[in-house]
């Protein structure tokens, strides 16, 4: 039994199940909701299976079609992929349960197939070791994300989706040009082989410029974040949750992976890292200040995403001297941010559904009448602020520790400022939820599944803080950060 479990092709399930599930949802719209939920559930189980598999056997590598690396495409899973897959599974479960209550029949038949294809694309993206295959998954993910972002209709959502589409297409094209240069420079598109064959040359530099720029645009790193707030702010709340929690992280994952395996050792590390760090710091401050200025809840959360992405890029300058620690911190932050941000968008969606609006100043009496949503928002906020004992706290703590050890006080100051600003914008919202408006607004009931999915995600984001050691040890399976480590 155990052998079967260990040998079971979890990777194939992770990629193919959502795709086939999406097809079934499309064919039989009557059972779309049920099929969707089941698919997501079993996909999440497969992540567990894969986790067990690579925990026991180490890194997983699979040659699709049996051809092997340069000719065929390899699938690859290590701790880093596993962490991203796990984040995806958690968020997918929460968002799916939420969506089952959120989307009414007409929208439901449109939502489920596209969402399952998006899930398949995400899983495929985290599992591939081939940069051209990454391009295809990026496009699949991007188009599905755009289709979901425009689902709500109306001027704002369509404008946001259009901006998003143009940005994501441009990003992929620029990335593709980088891939083309790499292929012709070194005759392979397999990441591992490229890492062996590549040497510092104009090809590498140009490819790095193109790939990094394209992925930065897709990750919405300041100052290329312009498309994110309108798209994430105007999409339906469960879609915003997916976009902020997962889709943005996916392109960061690619950037990180390629940096670790290919570019990091070849390019002038310090200069590039400094630029990344500067942009990250600017993103934290800028995104937080903008979030504080917003009057709409969802836009505020979207800007908060801009700020939180900044933290991930702060790891680059820190990693030049302390590879593993800095990257672990960044990935921990990414994981907890995925959970917390999804919970936050879902809670905001509940408030939106309840009051029919998301003006921060009019969120009256949410605490009394929508206590679970308020609790979810507060718990998720804890993680975003980095208050103990949440997952965000652990991530920030690990990163601060590295920064202090290296004497990078400017980074410490930026991080503390970012935390303070985050506290300010989150408590601004929380304060309003307690107030009592003179005339209560019309309110609409919120299904329990929507309330609980938001709350459970938020609780997961907080509980993540208690699991630092197991998560970090899982993350280091296959030593994904090993290559960039420079002995101090």
């Amino acid at each position: 039994m155990e052998v079967v479990f260990k040998e079971f092709p979890w990777v194939a399930v992770l990629i193919l199940l959502p795709l086939l599930g999406g097809i079934v949802c499309f064919l039989f719209s009557g059972i779309a909701k049920f099929t969707g939920l089941m698919t997501v559930f079993f996909t999440a189980l497969s992540v567990l299976g894969l986790g067990w598999q690579i925990f026991d056997n180490g890194v997983y590598r699979h040659a699709v079609g049996g051809w092997g690396a340069p000719l065929g495409i390899d699938l690859y899973a290590d701790g880093l992929s596993l962490l991203m897959l796990a984040a995806t599974a958690f968020v997918a479960l929460g968002v799916s349960v939420y969506s089952a209550g959120y989307f009414e029949r007409g929208y439901s038949t449109r939502f489920w197939p596209i969402w399952l294809f998006l899930l398949g694309a995400l899983n495929a993206l985290f599992l591939t070791a081939d940069i051209f295959n990454l391009y295809v998954t990026l496009e699949l993910m991007g188009l599905a994300a755009v289709a979901l972002a425009g689902l709500a209709g109306g001027k704002n959502a369509l404008t946001g989706a259009m901006r998003y589409l143009l940005a994501t297409l441009l990003g992929s094209l620029v990335y593709l040009l980088g891939v083309a240069l790499l292929y012709h420079g070194f005759g392979t598109v397999d990441i591992t082989l490229l890492a062996q064959r590549a040497e510092a040359s104009p090809v590498i530099w140009a490819a790095f410029g193109l790939i990094a720029a394209g992925l930065m645009l897709k990750t919405a790193l300041f100052p290329l974040h312009f498309w994110l707030p309108p798209a994430h702010g105007s999409a339906p709340p469960p879609v915003s949750a997916l976009l902020s929690a997962l889709v943005v992280k996916a392109s960061f994952y690619i950037l990180l992976r390629l940096w670790l395996e290919i570019f990091g050792p070849l390019v002038s590390n310090t200069d590039v890292s400094t630029l990344f760090g500067l942009l990250g710091a600017a993103a934290i401050l800028w995104g937080s200040v903008q979030a504080l200025r917003q009057t709409r809840l969802k836009l505020m959360i979207a800007y908060s995403t801009v700020a939180q992405i900044g933290y991930l890029f702060l790891a680059f300058p820190l990693a030049t001297a302390a590879g593993v620690a800095a990257w672990s911190a960044a990935m921990y932050l990414a994981f907890s941010h995925a959970l917390a941000k999804a919970a936050m968008f879902l809670a905001a969606g509940n408030m939106l559904r309840f009051g029919g609006h998301d003006r921060i100043s009019d969120l009256d009496r949410v605490v009394q009448r929508l206590p679970l949503a308020a609790a979810a928002f507060a718990l998720a906020g804890m993680s975003i602020m980095g208050l103990p004992p949440s997952g965000g706290f652990i991530g920030k703590w690990l990163m601060l520790e590295v920064a202090i050890k290296q004497g990078r006080w400017e980074i410490v100051i930026v991080m503390i400022l970012g935390g303070l600003l985050a506290a300010a914008y989150i408590f601004k919202v929380l304060g309003h939820t307690f107030t009592q408006a003179p005339s209560p607004h019309e309110s609409k009931a919120v299904p329990a599944s929507m309330e609980w999915s938001a709350l459970l995600l938020a609780i997961a984001a907080v509980l993540l803080g208690f699991l630092a050691i197991p998560v970090l040890s899982l993350l280091n399976i296959g030593n994904p950060f090993g290559i960039s480590e420079v002995t101090p």
Partner: protein, 321 residues
């Protein structure tokens, strides 16, 4: 011999310069209709360039999809846009995007020039001879089940890419449908020329598609090319004013839509269960499996592309909502 080389070289130069020139004109010309027509011409020239570069498969795909179908999509979109603009009383003109950031006008071309120079330098810095993966392809051709190398790469060596790519097509169709129906129906009665043309062309196109599909195993051609030719037949029918109406929402039609990607995914899963390897075609059956996959893919691609051209969600979707 030397004159031939010279001739070829001058042809290449002419083709290249006209490509660049066309691109510049089509992107900067005042009239959008003209721009689109130029884009189709540009696509055809690109197809020529592919032929010159010994890439006949790409040439076929470019002519059918890049120039033909994209052009048709663009033209219909423009026509619909004109209707919207007339209804709303807005006019379009050549407008620059950067009114309120004037300094960029000087910065942008400069930065782009730097990009072009840099990329050009990189292209020249590539080693003059690089086999790429051609040796690997040649070695493994015997096990691929087909004798045409591009098909072998597309459907076998890198079949996983193609599997995902079919889903890209499907997602874009779902996306187009999810935005709901676009504006008022803008029906025109086809002229007699189009009418006759369609009557003659549709059967021919179907035959061409079948041929392309069949020939794909050992010569240029294959699912994408055949699918797009078949789609062209559908587009002609749609231009004629034929509307599928209720068909689009029926289960058989939906089945055709998903047959290509679906069968591909199911095959992948089955092969994993049987052989323990994703998409590992057994050598003796590889040819047949690939042909089956290609046939369903052709149907699906054709229907998806034609549906993209129609860009109307199926009617019964409205009843759902």
């Amino acid at each position: 011999m030397e004159t031939l080389t010279l001739l070829a070289l001058s042809f290449d130069a002419l083709l290249n310069l006209s490509l660049l020139y066309l691109a510049w004109i089509l992107l900067n010309c005042e009239d959008l209709l003209k721009a689109i027509v130029l884009f189709v011409a540009f696509g055809l020239l690109m197809a020529l360039a592919w032929v010159r570069l010994d890439a006949p498969d790409v040439a076929l795909a470019e002519a059918a999809i890049g120039a033909g179908l994209t052009g048709a999509l663009l033209l219909t979109a423009l026509a619909k846009l004109r209707v919207i603009e007339t209804n709303k009383g807005t006019t379009q003109q050549l407008k620059q995007d950067s009114e309120n950031f004037q300094t960029l006008h000087y910065m942008t071309p400069l930065a782009l020039l730097l990009v072009a120079i840099g990329l050009g330098y990189v292209v020249f810095s590539m080693p003059p001879i690089s086999a790429g993966l051609s040796n690997d392809v040649a070695t493994n051709m015997g096990n691929s089940g087909v004798s045409h190398s591009v098909t072998a790469v597309l459907l076998n060596f890198r079949g996983y890419d193609t599997l995902l790519e079919m889903f890209v097509l499907l997602v874009s169709l779902l996306g187009v449908w999810s935005f709901g129906s676009t504006t008022s129906q803008h029906e025109t009665t086809p002229g007699p020329v189009l009418d006759t043309l369609t009557r003659r062309l549709v059967p021919v196109l179907i035959l061409v598609a079948a041929y392309l599909l069949w020939v794909g195993a050992h010569a240029p051609g294959g699912a994408f090319q055949a699918g797009s030719v078949l789609a062209a037949a559908g587009v002609l029918l749609l231009l004629m004013g034929w509307r599928p109406g209720g068909y689009l929402s029926t289960l058989p039609f939906r089945l055709i839509l998903v047959a290509g990607p679906g069968l591909f995914a199911i095959t992948a899963a089955l092969l994993y269960l049987l052989k323990g390897q994703l998409l590992a075609f057994p050598v003796e059956y590889a040819g047949i499996i690939i042909f089956a996959l290609e046939t369903t893919a052709t149907l699906s691609i054709a229907v998806i592309l034609a549906a993209l051209f129609l860009s109307e969600p199926p009617h019964s979707d409205k009843e759902h909502i």
